[in-house]
């Protein structure tokens, strides 16, 4: 790099615009590959964007805090977007009302399986106690999961990462598993994906159908509530 170019790089990397543009561009790359792969769930745009950005940041020696100064503007919109999930939910209000009992029982069962199976498998394979506590709330939307993790002795920032990985896994593998199981009911598909993989699963479900998206958003909200109340109690009783 010539001195002039280096000056430009130093200037740009200090401004939030670069990280913001990189985030949008990496996501465009993710979307493009997703389209090219025939919208296959495994070609998840979030996963692709994250891989591209981590490679870029590690390659240029940029730390996460510097990146986040720009990326926070995208991150901030998660709040208002979560509020907007009231729209698909309202559109499916009749369907939700008809299946209220089925939704409640399925969701509580799924919520327990999510925490118990993660902790059980992690313990069997020798994960540390701190890692297990960070794993337990992995199916819950990040802000709530971080609070639960802290309460039961996990690392909130590790939990945030495990939550995102779980979201990507659920969005990528969930639809394939549901296809294998022959479950075509969009309400059941959405509820399952939303319970297992919170907002990232919900984003994926919304792309497929409004009904699936509404049930996924509902499942995300209720799972956060159920896990926040039940997990710390069970954790103290069992472990």
């Amino acid at each position: 790099m010539t001195a002039g170019l280096r000056d430009i790089w130093v200037y740009l990397s200090a401004s939030p615009l670069l990280a913001l543009t990189m985030t949008l561009a990496a996501y465009q790359v993710g979307l493009w590959i997703h389209q090219r792969a025939g919208r296959h769930p495994l070609a998840n745009p979030v996963l692709i964007a994250v891989v591209v950005l981590v490679a870029l940041l590690l390659g240029t020696g940029t730390d996460y805090a510097t990146y986040f100064e720009g990326a926070q503007f995208v991150h901030f919109l998660l709040g208002p977007a979560t509020v907007a999930l009231a729209l698909p939910l309202y559109r499916q209000i009749e369907r939700v009302r008809r299946s209220l009992l089925a939704i409640t029982v399925s969701l509580l069962t799924g919520s327990m399986v999510a925490a118990a199976s993660a902790v059980g498998i992690g313990a069997l394979l020798g994960a540390s106690r701190e890692t297990l506590a960070s794993l337990a709330p992995k199916s819950v939307t990040a802000p709530v999961a971080m609070g639960i993790s802290e309460q039961i002795g996990g690392l909130p920032s590790l939990t945030a990462v495990l939550v995102i990985l779980t979201g990507i896994l659920g969005a990528a593998l969930g639809p394939l598993l549901l296809n294998l199981m022959g479950i075509r009911d969009m309400a059941a598909r959405g509820l399952a994906i939303g319970t297992a993989s919170h907002g990232i699963g919900t984003a994926r479900a919304l792309q497929v159908s409004d009904l699936a998206g509404a049930f996924a958003g509902l499942a995300m909200g209720l799972n956060a509530l159920a896990t926040a109340i039940l997990l710390p109690l069970v954790w103290r009783l069992v472990l």
Partner: protein
């Protein structure tokens, strides 16, 4: 349009305040979602401009998780040390959760008018 963007932000703000004031175990935006939902039920409909703003946000929901996802670079070392336990636990548990929830919903949803969506 700007009016309804303000409404959405106001719901989130009210949700955050409610959560802190009552010590609720949910995040502020989820409480805000409940507030907006209640407003729609009372109003018995979604105004067109609210639909435009809200659906615009939701159509790009995936993008909004990218900055948090990049945070994986902070924990690459720790995850590497326990890579097998963490990855098997995440994959198997996520698949088990999807399967159990969907099966329960299919079994229970039959009697209550569930069907092809």
């Amino acid at each position: 349009m700007l009016f309804f963007l303000t409404v959405i932000f106001a719901c989130q703000l009210a949700g955050e305040l409610l959560v802190v004031a009552l010590g609720l175990p949910v995040p502020g935006p989820v409480a805000g979602m409940v507030l907006l939902f209640a407003g729609l039920v009372i109003r018995r409909g979604i105004p067109d401009d609210l639909a435009r703003v809200g659906d615009g946000l939701l159509s790009n929901l995936s993008l909004l998780f990218v900055p948090a996802g990049v945070g994986v670079m902070l924990h690459i070392a720790l995850i590497g040390e326990q890579a097998v336990a963490i990855s098997v636990a995440l994959v198997v548990s996520t698949l088990a959760t999807v399967a159990v929830t969907a099966l329960a919903m299919r079994l229970l949803g039959r009697g209550s008018g569930g069907g092809e969506g």
